[in-house]
């Protein structure tokens, strides 16, 4: 029988462990430079959590999360850029007071749609709203016509393509292929100093947990149950009278919102945003973070994002040629041998042994996707 608690004891332990690692262990072990890197990885974790909901629970594979990550990131970048482009800072431009890339492109006044981004409130709102609106348009059109699966994935790729071409081409308004760079202060607070980056790391961690709680709430709610049911047997859910499309739209938009927040935090942590973070390749890589961590587990998604990115940085320093082979192999291995990722391995292999040492209440089982065996279904 399913427990009605917000979190089972297992999950509390899982959350606590993650919190310990993020807030205590890593800051102690790592120097400023590496901690900043992990801050960046944490921003990718937002996307991974969104995918764990969308794809793991909902069965909707989006190969275009880069769109929402990028949109959120660009909104934040626009705000920061406007703040950095005060008339004093830009005195040498032919038109002071507007971002430098606009000046090089002979644009003489700020386009109207940039104006609202002077306001921090509006920007924070836009960081979530713009990706969600986009997600809504895409998903409304597709899910109400019962398109999903492979078709949907390919269309997300096409949208990624379109967005990338547009952003790169309209360099006067978006900074083009260089992106929006040279961001300095957030409401007067200098984000480039070491202390600022450390603070951002903790802010990232905090926001991440907020998002995790929201995701946990969704999963434990009736919506969460419905999502899993839809993933496995969509028609039955439909015949039971539920409006399948609206649930799918909701979860896709939620995933987009998370990705947008991640993008905004990325812009703050790294100090710029560029279209290279939106494209097809990064979008697919975001899926692997979720897959490695365990698509059914939101905590696993966070670990996946941290681990894969850390591996990427380490490998590309020491064995650059091997990295691509390793990454390709990782995709294949995760799909073939451990489809539930690290969380699955933990749940199947490691946890039972730990529990045997320390008996406790058995956790409520969350059904695994059809096609995986019963053992995996019993765990998690």
């Amino acid at each position: 029988m399913k427990s009605a608690a917000f979190m089972s004891r297992r999950e509390v332990v899982g959350f606590a462990l993650l919190a310990a690692i993020i807030f205590i262990l890593l800051p102690v072990m790592l120097d400023g430079f590496r901690l900043n890197l992990f801050g960046k990885y944490l921003t990718y974790a937002f996307v991974a959590i969104g995918l764990a909901l969308c794809w793991g629970a909902g069965g909707i594979l989006s190969l275009g999360q880069g769109i929402f990550f990028g949109l959120g990131g660009y909104c934040m970048a626009m705000f920061l850029k406007l703040e950095a482009s005060t008339p004093e800072n830009t005195a040498i431009q032919s038109t002071p007071g507007i971002p430098d890339f606009m000046d090089w492109n002979q644009i003489t006044e700020l386009p109207a749609w940039w104006e609202p981004f002077y306001s921090l409130f509006f920007t924070l709102f836009a960081v979530v709203a713009v990706p969600v609106i986009f997600a809504f348009i895409i998903s409304f059109a597709m899910f109400t016509r019962r398109v999903s699966g492979v078709y949907f994935a390919i269309i997300t790729q096409a949208v990624v393509s379109i967005l990338t071409i547009l952003i790169i081409g309209q360099q006067g308004y978006t900074g083009g292929v260089n992106g929006i760079t040279d961001l300095r202060t957030l409401n007067g607070w200098d984000i480039r100093t070491e202390e600022a980056k450390n603070t951002l790391y903790f802010v990232n961690g905090g926001l991440l947990f907020a998002v995790l709680f929201v995701a946990q709430y969704v999963r434990r709610s009736k919506l969460g149950r419905l999502l899993i049911a839809m993933r496995d047997q969509e028609d039955r859910v439909r015949f039971s009278g539920y409006n399948v499309a609206s649930f799918k739209i909701f979860i896709f938009c939620l995933g987009a919102a998370f990705a947008g927040i991640g993008g905004a935090m990325f812009t703050l942590q790294v100090g710029f945003m560029s279209p290279s973070l939106i494209g097809i390749v990064p979008s697919i890589e975001m899926v692997i973070f979720c897959a490695v961590g365990g698509r059914l587990s939101i905590i696993g998604a966070v670990y996946g994002a941290l681990l894969v990115n850390w591996a990427k940085t380490s490998f590309s320093e020491s064995f650059p040629e091997l990295w691509l082979l390793g990454l390709g192999g990782l995709f294949i291995a995760v799909v073939m041998f451990f489809p539930n990722g690290l969380a699955g391995i933990w749940a199947e292999k490691i946890e039972p042994r730990l529990l045997a040492l320390w008996p406790g209440k058995a956790a409520p089982a969350e059904p695994a996707p059809k096609g995986t065996d019963a053992k995996t279904a019993a765990a998690e």
């Binding site: 016509r145 999903s148 699966g149 040629e321 390709g328 799909v335």
Partner: protein
């Protein structure tokens, strides 16, 4: 724009633009046919499709080097041999990949997407290690370079005609295979009802394997043909994937006619828009229109069944 040209010249320009559109159509057909065969049969999108194409291109490159060194007299015909080799090599790799990877993932098309993406990364790195990160130049026999003057105003690129003939030939060959051979009959049977097809004794595993192999082989031939018009390097395959996927998805599952119709419409739309607008805008508009139409009619132009 058209004011200071004679009628003959304008006619020639439009004729040449028409041919440009046909060449683009043939390019799309070649790119997409291999994938459409696989997608129609198994519902699998092979994200490594571009890399199979480039494999064919590399085979062509190696063949051209072998001929240049050992059989220079026969250089003029090496291209045909290269294409046959490209088909065999890509096809064989396809068979192996199906056996080792795809067949374990049949019930999980989304996972196949990811696994084949991983395969594409591995293939890219392999090409980089063997052939180097730089693009390689493939020399074309003289008779294939340049253009053919249809009339004194209209000039058609020879490699364009080659690509068109090839696309036509391969389409006919696939049609023949699909509707006149045992394999084709098995494929159609499995498409209609896999369980029954199994029950009447068709070896579904082997048919699937052969299908994947043929699809990849066709991709290899396409890649071989593209050495004439594009670049050959480890990451060159990525340039084709979005277009190829869209053509296949737009055409609808299980219908080769759909793929051809889809290739035709997308290529003509893009070609006409490129003529009147700038390149980037044409591309963005084409993509938007295709995505828009797919949102309205998600099953594609022709489809035998609604895919999920």
């Amino acid at each position: 724009m058209f004011s200071d040209y004679s009628w003959a010249e304008l006619g020639a320009i439009f004729a040449m633009q028409g041919f440009a559109g046909l060449i683009l159509f043939s390019v799309f057909v070649l790119m997409a046919l291999g994938l459409a065969i696989i997608f129609g049969q198994m519902g699998v999108i092979n994200m490594a499709h571009g890399e199979f194409m480039i494999l064919g291109a590399y085979v062509t490159y190696m063949t051209s080097n072998v001929f240049a060194e050992y059989m220079p007299a026969l250089f003029g015909i090496y291209f045909f041999i290269a294409m046959i080799l490209a088909f065999i090599v890509s096809g064989t790799l396809g068979l192996l990949v199906e056996w080792g990877l795809i067949r374990h993932l049949y019930k999980r098309p989304l996972d196949t997407l990811l696994a084949t993406w991983g395969l594409s990364l591995i293939l890219q790195q392999t090409y980089r290690s063997i052939f180097g990160a730089r693009e390689v130049g493939v020399s074309i026999p003289d008779w294939m370079m340049g253009s053919y003057a249809l009339t004194w105003l209209i000039e058609i690129p020879i490699n364009g005609m080659f690509v068109m003939t090839l696309a036509l030939g391969i389409s006919l060959a696939i049609w023949y295979l699909m509707y006149r051979s045992t394999w084709g009959r098995n494929v159609r049977a499995i498409n209609q009802n896999r369980v029954m097809a199994d029950a009447v004794g068709i070896n579904t595993a082997w048919t699937d394997r052969l299908t994947f192999g043929i699809g990849c082989g066709v991709a290899g031939v396409a890649g071989s043909a593209f050495t004439m018009i594009g670049s050959t390097g480890p990451t060159a395959g990525q340039l084709y994937i979005v277009d190829t996927f869209l053509v296949v998805v737009f055409g609808g599952a299980g219908s080769l006619l759909g793929t051809i119709a889809s290739a035709f419409s997308i290529s003509q739309a893009q070609s006409i828009m490129e003529f009147f607008l700038s390149g980037s805008m044409a591309k963005v508009l084409t993509l938007l229109v295709v995505v828009g139409i797919l949102m309205i009619r998600p099953q594609g132009l022709f489809s035998l069944k609604l895919r999920k």
